[in-house]
Amino acid sequence: MTKRDAAAALTLPVGKRDHIRGPADAAVTLVEYGDYECPHCGRAYPIVKTIQKQLGPKLRFVFRNFPLRESHPHAEQAAEAAEAAAAQGKFWEMHDRLFERQFALDGEYLIEYAGDLGLDVARFRTELSSGAYAPRVREDFRSGVTSGVNGTPTFFINGVRYDDSWEFEPLLAALEDAAVARS
């Protein structure tokens, strides 16, 4: 019988291309592959936020796109909108807005959010309609597939897929353990 040699691990290391919150030398790195229209990701969003506050500079958080396009008709466009905002230096602001307004992800809302965040709306609109960031989103998606992402959200702690519950307490405990193991 052939078996997987080890737990699924990130094939694309965290690097310059990523959207990162937290210091580069943080004891623990949490990578999320997520989908802005996925209700589970929506529920994980405030949990991750609380954990970020709790762990402070011990934690580095990275978000990568994994839009499930067949299940969630707005997911791809929302992912590209976050990348378009990133091009104007507002990735996390858009990321937060999309999860907080997960029920309103139609095109006109995305434009509205861009305006709210003070983005150059004309540029945002053009880049969104031309699919300027579709390749970037695909790259995220592919890296997720080869890393063993098996649904959304999928988390990796220090590069290894985390298969246990991502409810607040177990996720926090797993991150604290990983931080201790590192230091």
Partner: protein, 167 residues
């Protein structure tokens, strides 16, 4: 689902000729493994339709199928559910690949591949990558409650493709 009734014999290993079968892919349509000779085949056994999780295993493979197609591979889902159940499930989840009904005699194909769970009455969450000559090149059984993802399949397809096209 507690992992109390794993298949006794374990999955057919790499190097084994994949047993041929003919199963319903729709109420009025059947599919045989031999129809796919010349193409790699991904045989994905799963316990049941209507998994409640968002982005479950079949939904994931549905999203990833363009990556599989890049290898010329054909994806077949297979469970003990009947053809009508599969049709409703595929329609609702917008699945664009065949789901085969290992329904009568129940689980017969899963048994031949060594991945039927007697006490439960459904199959393991088991993956087989079969090459164009019908030989199993990789097999894997995931813990029943863990979606195995697609990375192992892609690595196996990579290995099969690497041999076929010497540089």
């Amino acid at each position: 689902m507690a992992d109390t009734n794993p298949a006794a014999e374990g999955p057919l290993p790499a190097g084994t000729q994949a047993p041929d079968f003919t199963l319903h892919s729709a109420p009025d349509q059947t599919v045989s493994l031999r129809d796919y000779r010349g193409h790699p085949v991904i045989l994905a056994f799963y316990p049941a339709d209507w998994s409640p999780v968002c982005g479950d295993q079949m939904a994931l493979y549905n999203e990833v199928r363009s990556e599989f197609e890049g290898y010329g591979a054909k994806l077949l889902g297979i469970s003990v559910d009947g053809a009508w159940c599969h049709r409703a499930f595929a329609d609702q989840r917008k699945l664009h690949f065949p789901l085969l009904a290992d329904f009568e005699p129940k689980g017969a194909v899963a048994r031949r591949y060594g991945v039927y769970r007697e006490g439960d009455g459904f199959s393991e969450r088991a993956l087989f990558v079969i090459d164009g000559d019908g030989v199993i090149r990789w097999s894997y059984v995931s813990p029943i409650d863990v979606n195995p993802g697609a990375d192992g399949i892609l690595r196996a397809l990579d290995a099969v493709a690497g041999e076929r096209t010497p540089a």
